[in-house]
């Protein structure tokens, strides 16, 4: 009998989340899977079965069940939305199958669940929130000339799983840094109007706004902010909509410049010098393949890289080990192989290393070495500005005088 591993891949290709980044993650994952399908891994053929979760948790559950029980896949991979990961992970665990999440950043996916077969190389949402707070905390004195307790920060977020999780990280980070949180509020991503929120922001006069949202609401918020004359010192985005520069640019024109975003680093921005030397060619390959699918994109979205890199870690590290060391692709072999993973910093295209929290820890299954980076969009380029180790340029902070939102 021929040896092969069948992988069920679930992303949202339709519905609101598709445009929110899920489809880009799918493209990244597919590029890597196609790449490995050409050669196979350790004598195993790679067969990927794709499914569209249509931005609905119920369909994600149905499709996962179908893939696992009907298509008899050996594992599932992918998932963009935490609202899908939570129930699917529970099902997978119950069925004792293997799951490799490429995105799904909410910490709630793992918190105290004690999963054995579910792994996520990706940073969690509260890490995103903490990261930007940390960045501002380290720069408050130098750039704003304020003591932390005098720095006014506002935390706003769409009220979906993602926004809520990031905002929790924001809040924790703000507390740690000792900032003056002048506002914290959620809103629905489908709200037709955010002017009340903008008015409240005007009243709160924040120095820094920490915002998490998807695309339509980000453009709506920033457009209404401009129209209502909201001024601030810096805007920190947290992935999702902020990760798709094309759309920010389309919606805001020149105002998109100087916006910060935190995400896993875009693989095309990662510091290739400190990276495992076998990775840059892969990055190049992903880039070329992506350009074939989506020609003419100014800044390739980080989502593509996230999908690609996290899939690559599995295909190049976990899978070979499972086959060689644990004798196959059954869930237990995969699980043992995943737990053995020990990639140092610089060992992935996203710059971070991979080592999973083991059984018995509260976040079992989560990568303890992942971290996002803070980037800033300046003149249609995005550059890493934080952490220092990855930094490519000095952050422009606060917003320079004369820019639309500047409170200088």
């Amino acid at each position: 009998q021929e040896k092969k591993i069948k992988i069920g891949v679930v992303f949202d290709l339709t519905g609101p989340l598709a445009g929110g980044g899920s489809e880009l993650g799918y493209i990244g994952a597919k590029i890597i899977l196609d790449h490995f399908a050409k050669t196979g891994v350790e004598g195993y053929k790679i067969e990927a079965v794709y499914a569209d979760a249509q931005s609905k948790p119920d369909i994600a559950i149905n499709e996962s069940v179908r893939l696992l029980e009907q298509e008899k896949v050996d594992m599932v991979l992918g998932f963009f939305s935490s609202a899908q990961c939570v129930p699917v992970a529970a099902r997978v665990e119950q069925l004792k199958k293997f799951m490799w999440m490429t995105t799904c950043i909410s910490s709630a996916v793992f918190n105290d669940k004690g999963y054995k077969y579910v792994f996520r190389p990706q940073a969690s949402g509260d890490q995103f929130g903490m990261m930007t707070m940390d960045f501002i905390a380290q720069n408050a004195k130098a750039k704003f000339d304020k003591e932390p307790k005098d720095l006014r920060v506002a935390i706003i977020h769409e009220d979906g799983a993602y926004g809520v999780d990031v905002s929790r990280g924001n809040e924790a980070g703000a507390k740690k840094a000792g900032f003056n949180v002048v506002m914290k509020e959620g809103y629905s991503a489908t709200a037709p109007d955010l002017s009340a929120l903008v008015t409240k922001l005007k009243r709160a006069k924040p120095d820094v706004i920490f915002h998490t949202g998807y695309n339509p609401d980000i453009t709506l918020l920033l457009r209404q902010a401009r129209e209502q004359g909201l001024k601030f010192g810096a805007l920190m985005g947290h992935g999702a909509g902020y990760g798709v520069y094309e759309k920010l640019k389309e919606g805001m024109g020149a105002d998109a410049t100087y916006i910060f975003n935190t995400d896993p680093i875009s693989i095309w921005l990662a510091n290739q010098k400190t990276m495992d030397p076998k990775l840059p060619p892969v990055i190049k390959m992903v880039g070329e393949e992506f350009d074939k699918i989506r020609p003419g994109v100014a800044i390739r979205s980080a989502h593509v890289g996230i999908g690609a890199s996290n899939t690559y870690v599995f295909m190049s590290d976990v899978l070979p080990r499972a086959i060689k060391k644990y004798g196959g692709v059954d869930p237990d072999a995969l699980r043992k192989a995943a737990l053995d993973t020990d990639i140092p910093e610089g060992g992935t295209m996203l710059g971070f290393g991979v080592k999973f929290y083991g059984e018995g820890t509260p976040m079992a299954g989560q990568n303890e070495r992942s971290f996002p980076v803070v980037i800033q969009y300046i003149d249609d380029k995005s550059s890493v500005v934080w952490p220092k180790s990855q930094s490519q340029r000095e952050a422009v902070l606060p917003l320079p005088k004369g820019t639309t939102y500047s409170n200088q």
Binding site: T14, A51, Q54, N62, E69, A90, G186
Partner: protein, 339 residues
């Protein structure tokens, strides 16, 4: 008035349904079957009032309340679903009464009723989302896994068990449908749906009859919600609330046939199977096409089979009735002066 023959047919059908999971064990198909049964029950619950012109788009809300109340009680207070489910149903019932009473008292009918109930499900959705600290918001909510007695926690890993539970609940729904169909209340409600004043003049307590049926329907729908969450071990506000779910209920009921007991069930079978087949058929090769085709088919069904699939089939089988003067009556009714 069930004939001998029909009784036998029902008995055989039921026996076959009970035997099914012991013979046929494909887990995914069983999963779909369980979902079909649970949704059939929900749709039947909807149709119990929907068939009398009480078109509610708020049933997603009742389902959500049943599901969330039960799950919240279990997770936060450790209350067994055996108690949680009745409490959830009661909560949905209370809400149904709170909204229903003034609606019926002030004669809110037709489009207006549809939209008031739509607002109701909107509120439930927003409240679940906004109280995310307790309900998990749009991230959804998972009942904690039982550490002890599975039966007490109403949690089973085995699909066959779930299949039988769902079958039982569904059957109960059908029985309730028939009980109502054969009761005097049906006459009253048919009368009310045509002409409230005339019904009242026949001695019918219009408000009470409508409340009664709404209450039954809401209770059953809440039960469907809690069964659903126990089976899926997960619920999001989107699954149960909002216009999409409520529309889905109405769709299935009408596509199947609103005026026959198995209509909503047939509707559930057809809509769910259709959606599954189309999604799997088109797969990721033609993204979005499945919903497009699904929508077109729904529209076609409604245009060409206005009585629903089962309803139309049964009509074919029955001997032709006298030509209806319904179209004329409709106009005359509208033109009725304010007597």
């Amino acid at each position: 008035m069930m004939g001998q023959g029909r009784l036998v047919a029902w008995a055989i059908g039921l026996a076959a349904l009970i035997a099914l999971p012991f013979v046929y064990r494909d887990p995914y198909h069983l999963h779909i079957l369980v979902l079909i049964l649970i949704w059939s029950f929900a749709y039947t619950s909807w149709s119990i009032m929907g068939r009398f012109g009480l078109v509610s788009l708020g049933h997603g809300g009742f389902m959500g309340i049943g599901a969330y109340v039960m799950a919240l009680l279990w997770n936060h207070l450790g209350v067994s679903p055996w108690i949680g489910i009745p409490v959830g149903m009661a909560a949905a019932g209370v809400l149904a009464l709170i909204v229903g009473y003034p609606c019926f008292r002030f004669r809110i009918t037709g489009h207006y009723f549809v939209l008031v109930t739509l607002a109701l499900s909107g509120i439930v959705l927003q409240v679940i989302t906004a109280t995310r600290d307790y309900t998990g918001g749009s991230l959804g909510y998972t009942p904690n896994r039982a550490s002890g007695n599975k039966l007490l926690a109403l949690q089973f890993d085995d699909k066959t068990t779930w299949y039988l539970i769902a079958l039982g609940v569904w059957l109960a729904g059908i029985v309730v449908w028939h009980l109502i169909d054969r009761s005097m209340s049906r006459y009253a409600l048919e009368a009310i749906s045509e002409d409230e004043d005339a019904a009242a003049a026949a001695g019918v307590n219009v408000t009470a009859e409508k409340l009664k049926i709404t209450l039954i329907s809401a209770l059953m729908t809440a039960l469907a919600g809690s069964i659903y969450v126990q089976y899926q071990m997960f619920i999001t506000p989107d699954t149960v609330s909002g216009i999409a779910v409520s529309l889905q209920m109405v769709f299935a009921a009408i596509v199947g046939g609103l005026f026959v007991s198995l209509g909503p069930t047939v509707g559930a079978v057809i809509t769910i199977l259709l959606a599954e087949t189309l999604r799997i058929g088109f797969g990721t090769k033609a993204v979005g096409w499945d919903n497009l085709v699904y929508g077109v088919l729904l529209v076609l069904f409604i245009i060409f089979l206005p009585k629903g699939i089962l309803g139309s089939v049964l009509d074919r089988l029955k001997p032709q009735r006298k030509v209806s003067r319904a179209h004329e009556q409709e106009a005359i009714q509208i033109a009725r002066p304010g007597t």
